[in-house]
């Protein structure tokens, strides 16, 4: 049973709430943890991997709490984000040492297998200090896989990888997920998560903003109108021209400028400059009111 369960988990540092009342379940397959920088993805992964204590709530991994429980690492592998590894060891020594620490019956063979999976066999006899960033990531993944864990947590695994390495890592994670393992990885890049995971968990400012199937969430996002604020030389004129466009769902004259709600962001942005030229109106500023990922996801939280 390799699921991670969180129930009303919160974590704060003094006045700063890093994780705010999150309830979620992570099951077998590949799950992506998505969110902007500073949202709390690393904090959440540290909580799950037993390297941070929840200030409140219950967090169990495979049924047992992860905090102060080293036995959990028999089924769990962690690939942390910080690139610090024992750089004076060779890749092979590092993975073999990890295998021994897991008390595997045949540590050397397990290490060779793991190194083969991440395709680091050529470089395994070199010191880790000579590795590139992508190679270090891969050797960390090898160390996390050496004991054949059912759960794998990866913190920003694609950081610093070139496209070929990234594709390879994605294939690897997909294979592992298909084998029934529970894989959770974090990223702030939409495209990475899109390609790889079926399920995503979106975390924004410490709160769970959305969970579930990626495509469904995407649709939810695009079905919401985008809001812009325009500063023009003739708001009313441009407003009446805009309401005639099918891409626009609403126009409002506010004290701050002309607020436009557009359902089709692409069509609107293509049309606006042509429209202003036609009407002889000078467009001074076009400010999106909800461009940031955060406010987009805020819709999801409110809805």
């Amino acid at each position: 049973m390799s699921t991670i369960e969180l129930r009303n988990v919160s974590r704060w540092y003094g006045n700063v709430v890093a994780i705010n009342d999150i309830t979620m379940t992570v099951g077998p397959g590949v799950t992506g943890l998505l969110g902007p920088n500073g949202a709390g993805k690393s904090t959440l992964l540290h909580l799950m991997s037993g390297f941070l204590e929840p200030s409140r709530g219950e967090l169990t991994v495979g049924g047992a709490p992860s905090w102060r429980n080293p036995d959990i690492y028999r089924q769990l592998g962690l690939v942390p984000e910080r690139p610090s590894v024992y750089s004076f060891l060779t890749g092979q020594e590092f993975v073999r040492a990890t295998a021994r620490l897991h008390k595997l019956p045949d540590p050397d063979r397990a290490a060779d297998r793991a190194i083969g999976i991440v395709e680091m066999a050529d470089a395994q006899h070199r010191k880790i200090s000579t590795y590139s960033k992508g190679m270090r990531q891969r050797i960390k993944v090898a160390a996390a896989l050496v004991h054949d864990p059912e759960l794998l947590l990866l913190d920003e695994p694609f950081n610093g990888m070139d496209p070929r390495q990234r594709l390879h890592m994605m294939d690897l994670l997909e294979t592992l997920g298909d084998e029934g393992r529970t894989i959770l990885f974090s990223s702030h890049i939409l495209e990475e998560v899109e390609r790889l995971s079926g399920t995503i968990q979106v975390i924004v400012a410490g709160r769970l903003a959305a969970s579930g199937d990626f495509r469904a969430i995407r649709r939810l996002m695009t079905s919401r109108p985008h809001v812009f604020l325009l500063h023009t030389s003739d708001d009313r004129r441009i407003g009446s021209a805009l309401i005639g466009s099918p891409a626009v769902t609403g126009v409002e004259m506010t004290g701050r400028g002309l607020q436009v709600k557009a359902s089709d962001y692409g069509a609107f942005s293509r049309q606006i400059s042509g429209l202003t030229r036609e009407q002889g109106v000078q467009l001074r500023a076009l400010l999106p009111e909800d461009e940031s990922l955060e406010s987009v996801f805020a819709y999801l939280v409110d809805s």
């Binding site: 690393s42 390297f51 941070l52 204590e53 690492y73 942390p80 910080r82 024992y86 040492a97 620490l101």
Partner: protein
Amino acid sequence: MFSGQAGTVASITLRATMGRKRAFLFALPAVVLVLVTALLKIAHPAAPNWPSAILGAFGFAVVLPLTALIIGTSVLGAEIDDGSVVHLLATPVRRSTVILSKFAVGTVLTMIFVAVPELIAAVIATGGLTRLAEGLFVGALAGSVIYNAVFVMISVLTTRAIAVGLLYLLVWESLLGNFVSGARILSVEQYSLGIANSIASDSNLNAHLGVVTAVVMGAIVTVGALALAVRRLAAYSLKGDAV
């Protein structure tokens, strides 16, 4: 490379500690001690009890604590500082195994870099394997154990382990220990001197504690420090990066 969990931890620690240029720094105080002793032996200084003064006041008050500080804080401190200890802790190895293995490595290294040079210097100074030399050797061995336990504990408790350790040594042991007799009961230097004195019986060592007190307190401090270190390591937390 040793096998088994403890052995793996120990061998990684050994390579990490000895691999850098810091190993040079370990040897330095001891080299100074031996050199100074040798030079003094040749120079025939006026004071007849100069061996106990140099080997006691310099060896036990300066060389032993400072070398133990550098060694004791680097067996664990550097890994905690750059976060690579996570790789060690993300395995089912018992936290006590981690602490004890590292403590063992630090203690043995300190014994090699302090107790042995202390013995050599004592033999040079006193012209043979006298009671003073034996006493100092045993005292240095005991001091290596106790100091390493304290400094490993400090490394787990704070990221500024060297600064805290220096404060302890300079302010508590040197300053207060010389002037406030109550502070002596909590001074590792006094435990080491007490043990050394029980064999050497040399009043010039300025040992203020009897051997029973020294051994008992030394044991309590060692066990207590290591237990605290294990507890805190079990609660080792990764601060989330701002990303």
